[in-house]
Symmetry: C2
Subunit: 374 residues, 2 copies
């Protein structure tokens, strides 16, 4: 392998794949970054065996010139090194030694045997299971993934359930105390139901340029593949049955209140400062009392109590009630909804309540279980 | 106590003193923030008993209006609360309850007894031991404090030694493997020698607006007081004798090399990626070989080796030698010096070397002990 590459091009390509690479991985070969140069492109792969990123840079003769094709697996340090180099880089592989040269800088890197690197499954790029706008999928993730569990007690709940049913696509996640659901339409026609780790979706959101189209390939039971532009992401699916959440979502409510979302969020942010058990990771408990206005309050035995009154826009049904909930859950849900106004849908003080956008063309809901207080 | 204050004014004042306040401090009263309103000013104090910040806001009838003087000790949460309030705040103390009101927001805070709050020592503000420009003191700190030890094995080395000898002021710190020294002149005429915790100086740099003059008061053996504008900082001194460092600093050298500081720093930053033991907190070991140019190199058994050649500007004395040192120590020292060029002063492969600025009117030096390599 012998090539010349612009340092910025190399650094940006490595950045796309290095996130999942662990220099102390128990499988030695995965400690490195796979690199393959052909006369058409430079391929980079990083993997921790459950998640894999693949990126390619086309040969354009300007930022990349391949003199002699070849492949190697580089130590992870190549990523930091290329970031700090300011000029063109020449790379030449001799046996298992890679010479990386740029101006008066020379690195002699010990490489791994590329034949030992796990092969990626063959893929029919032209036939994705599902294609949609990156921005749209990103929205679906933003509105659901945060509600997944971060505890491994029920591993399936650390995932986000993707349901594709003909032309309907929805994402659901729940940690059993709250649930986020977002729907969109699709032209796919396929039917699949699978559970993607919420952390993988988070990595996807952060690594992909979601301005482009996103293609999703589902060719085996335990892996899903995402592709957008030159980047591909292979992620292991969660095994097990996702709980049936449809029966959890109520249709009838005692009361519906329309409030300004940002006003409500700011009020929560203020009141949560005096919420009890604020350090239990759920941001403590706050109380909502509706009676002519929405009064949010909190108290701690030590520091005192706080109250913020938010005027509602409109209210239908029961016009006086009290309900308590986790401050963090409420704020997460209010942040996920992007509308100016939200509907607060109340079923009873000890029953789950819903938050939905008022005007959005995005079909979504946030469900939260109340907290019992004395 | 009854007053009206602009929320931004209150939030900024609380921010100045809250840094040292620990809501779980074993001395209950120090969990709070002391507040005293007179017809002239509002005084705020935060303390963890070793470090204390005091700030005052003058009554101007606009951003602050004191209706009834008084004093209290507020729970620390008041700081976050005031930050999130967007309007004028009214504060009224009734017994041990403080009502904090702003628009439709009300907080009823449980306060502590202000009589229990530790009294600050009286101070003759007009007669500081030493006054100098804040920016100048900040420079002295920047060039020395990083070299203090972060290990408590020899507590005295976690401090910075301040020497004021008539018209000379210098700061020294060492962790016994490196030393930073910076000098300036002073019109004080006093003579003192004391050891300030490096962490306190760091807090000082971050909290004070060092564009203003800084006044230092030394009225007891165990405390030093800093004042700049409306802010005061009381800090506990370290007890014990600071080691005599004067005998550590060599005067004669075998070789002096002038190099471009940023070029040398960038080369270090690149080469350190392959430095051995890079995770020991000292950034691994790199080697400098001088022979017609300065060649910096590193290697690890696993990943390989790296070399960067930096051309020197000039060299006097011995023109071929090799020396090894901690990458982090070298980079810290190069960052502390602000000159375009540094002098690398060499005594021998196993003897400490010096880095000094080439043109600076600031008298300073960075001394580093080499690392023995095989």
């Amino acid at each position: 392998m012998h090539l010349k590459i612009d340092s910025k091009t190399l650094a940006e390509a490595l950045k796309k794949v290095e996130k999942v690479v662990n220099a102390k991985h128990s499988t030695t070969i995965l400690q490195g970054i796979y690199m393959e140069a052909t006369h058409e492109e430079l391929i980079l792969i990083g993997s921790d065996s459950t998640e894999t990123f693949r990126f390619h840079v086309p040969v354009d003769g300007e930022s990349l010139e391949v003199i002699e094709p070849g492949k190697t697996v580089l130590p992870k340090q190549v990523s930091e090194i290329s970031k700090k180099m300011k000029k063109d880089i020449e790379m030449r592989l001799t046996g298992f030694k890679l010479l990386l040269k740029s101006g008066k800088t020379e690195f002699d890197l010990n490489t791994f045997d590329p034949e030992e690197y796990p092969k990626l499954p063959k893929l029919d790029l032209e036939n994705p299971t599902l294609s949609l706008k990156g921005t749209e999928f990103s929205k679906l993730i933003k509105k659901t993934a945060f509600a997944a569990s971060d505890s491994e007690i029920r591993p399936i709940l650390t995932g986000v359930c993707l349901n594709l049913d003909g032309n309907n696509l929805n994402l659901i996640s729940t940690d059993s105390h709250r649930l986020g659901l977002a729907k969109t339409s699709s032209t796919s026609g396929n039917t699949i139901k699978l559970v993607i780790p919420a952390k993988s979706l988070d990595k996807l959101s952060k690594t992909f340029d979601l301005q482009e189209d996103l293609h999703i390939y589902c060719e085996s039971d335990n892996q899903l593949i995402f592709r957008s532009g030159a980047l591909m992401f292979y992620c292991r699916l969660l095994e097990g049955n996702y709980p049936d959440t449809s029966r959890l979502i109520p249709n009838e409510f005692k009361s519906e209140m329309k409030v300004n979302r940002i006003e409500f969020l700011n009020a929560m942010d203020l009141v949560k400062e005096l919420a009890n058990n604020a350090d239990n990771g759920k941001g403590g408990v706050v109380k909502l009392h509706v009676n002519g206005a929405a009064t949010i309050s909190s108290h701690t035995a030590q520091a005192g109590k706080g109250t913020v009154v938010v005027d509602y826009e409109s209210l239908e049904g029961e016009d006086e009630y009290t309900i308590s909930f986790s401050a963090r859950y409420m704020m997460d849900a209010l942040k996920a909804i992007e509308d100016d106004f939200v509907n607060f849908k109340f079923q009873g003080a000890m029953r789950p309540f819903l938050l939905t956008p008022c005007e959005s063309n995005f079909e979504e809901l946030q469900l939260i279980l109340p907290v019992r207080t004395i």
